[in-house]
């Protein structure tokens, strides 16, 4: 049994929250720059240039890439041979509190959805834990902006809707969102499981590097087909027209019920942020 002090979790969450908000992951930057080269519509080229300039400034000045520094989603993979001394949830929330205060990040969380009073420190985190083999603790901090979160959708399709129904739902979701989620977007898709499982898979799909296709050939081909179709919609960067509507479509899937075909689409903007560390 390996001991991990809850304080180390707090320190790591605080650091990751700040870094994730100021430094765009390399795979996302590479994909945006590649899309800029493939884009031939002048307005779209201009927007992509500004987006590239923006994350350059954020990195140089160590300021947030986007003012919506998000709700702080924290994913923990806890080795089954780890013992945490201290309260885990409080340690994570304290990390969010410190990171968002010391890092000059925006506090965007209200204490309850109807009475809407700001908690003032961006807590609580949206915390997911998973028990895995081993004696390590992997922490991923993924701040999620709500311009794109609000454009996300979930449908409980029928098995008879099949792959065509799933494709139609995903493409329609991106098309209806249009300019709202700050395209170019990254499309996280979760197919299968239950109502809640599909949504979580879609969120997790956003954390897979955009350079990496599904390990399952069938789904990898589906990702490529969907990306091509979405980039034929013409929405373009910021919705002003152009090819680059999406940077990637990442699909995660799970076994499901004989009666069901859940599909969740979690949209993220070009500022797709996540940062991990292993304790």
């Amino acid at each position: 049994m390996r001991e991990i002090d809850a304080k180390a979790i707090t320190d790591t969450v605080a650091r990751l929250a700040i870094e994730a908000n100021c430094l765009l992951p390399t795979d996302v930057k590479d994909r945006i720059e590649a899309a800029r080269l493939e884009e031939n519509w002048p307005t779209a080229q201009g927007i992509l240039d500004k987006i590239i300039e923006n994350y350059g400034i954020a990195e140089r000045d160590f300021v947030p890439i986007c003012q919506d520094t998000g709700m702080c989603c924290v994913f923990l993979k806890i080795g089954q041979d780890v013992h945490i001394s201290g309260d885990l949830k409080s340690a994570v929330d304290e990390g969010v509190r410190r990171g968002y205060t010391e890092g000059y990040l925006r506090k965007s969380v209200v204490a309850d959805p109807l009475r809407r009073v700001n908690t003032g420190d961006n807590t609580p985190a949206v915390l997911y834990t998973e028990i895995v083999p081993g004696d390590k603790l992997e922490i991923t901090v993924a701040p999620k902006g709500f311009g794109s979160e609000n454009m996300s959708r979930l449908a409980m399709l029928k098995p008879s809707d099949g792959a065509e129904g799933v494709k139609r739902f995903i493409i329609n979701t991106v098309e209806e969102a249009g300019p709202n989620p700050c395209p170019p977007v990254i499309v996280g898709v979760g197919i299968g499981g239950t109502f809640d499982k599909a949504a979580l898979l879609a969120k997790k799909a956003l954390m897979r590097p955009v350079s990496e296709r599904s390990s399952d050939e069938y789904y990898a081909a589906l990702e490529a087909e969907l990306l091509e179709k979405i980039n034929s919609l013409g929405v373009g960067p910021q919705g002003f027209g152009g090819r680059t509507t999406a940077l990637a479509v990442n699909i995660e899937w799970a076994p499901t019920h004989i009666a069901g075909l859940p599909v969740a689409v979690n949209i993220n903007c070009h500022v797709t942020r996540h940062k991990s560390a292993v304790l």
């Binding site: 500004k50 923006n54 700001n118 300019p179 152009g242």
Partner: protein, 184 residues
């Protein structure tokens, strides 16, 4: 190429700006998003004065990050505008001539823009670090309790925006997409 516009925008100027115009805005703008809009419209409904002069005012839908020491403001890009659709027609009627945000607007907003003369601009969503460099001064006007959502008075210089919907109801989101697709 870009149209230089000095604020405030009069009704007449608002009517002269066309969807698709790339503009650089300089002068004073006010910030407000969901919670502040709700309070402003409640004041109008009660017949009470607004905390700033709404006549010919331009409102930027933004909740900036806190300023780091030595800086005027933190990152300050636009938020999605449709959440303000319930409130914008009232503010336009009261005198608002410019709105800066991103994304689609509802028909009730476009109707008010046509009736009174107002223009809707989009700034680049997700480019908050870049846009903040155009903000030269920032001070809180009211609703400090709302934190990032407080109403701020900003002095901007050459803030890059694009007119998306004009006072005739023309829409760049529709036209831009159509033009691109017909170019293929």
């Amino acid at each position: 190429m870009e149209k230089r516009i000095t604020l405030p925008i009069t009704r007449e100027t608002a009517r002269s700006i066309k969807a698709g115009d790339a503009c650089l805005l300089s002068g004073v703008i006010y910030t407000a998003r969901d919670a502040a809009h709700k309070r402003l419209v409640e004041l109008v409904e009660k017949g009470e004065p607004l905390p700033f002069d709404i006549k010919d005012a331009t409102i930027y839908y933004v909740g900036p990050t806190p300023a780091k020491p030595g800086r005027v403001i933190g990152s300050a890009g636009p938020t999605t505008s449709y959440r303000m659709d319930a409130y914008s027609p009232t503010l336009i009627r009261e005198g608002e001539t410019g709105m800066i945000g991103k994304g689609k607007r509802g028909p009730e907003v476009v109707a008010a823009m046509k009736e009174y003369g107002a223009v809707y601009f989009a700034a680049i969503g997700g480019a908050g670090a870049l846009l903040s460099s155009c903000i030269k001064k920032a001070e809180i006007v009211c609703y400090e309790d709302l934190g990032a959502e407080a109403v701020r008075r900003l002095e901007v210089e050459d803030l890059p925006v694009v007119a998306v919907i004009d006072a005739e109801g023309n829409n760049l989101y529709e036209k831009g997409r159509k033009d691109y697709l017909s170019s293929l």
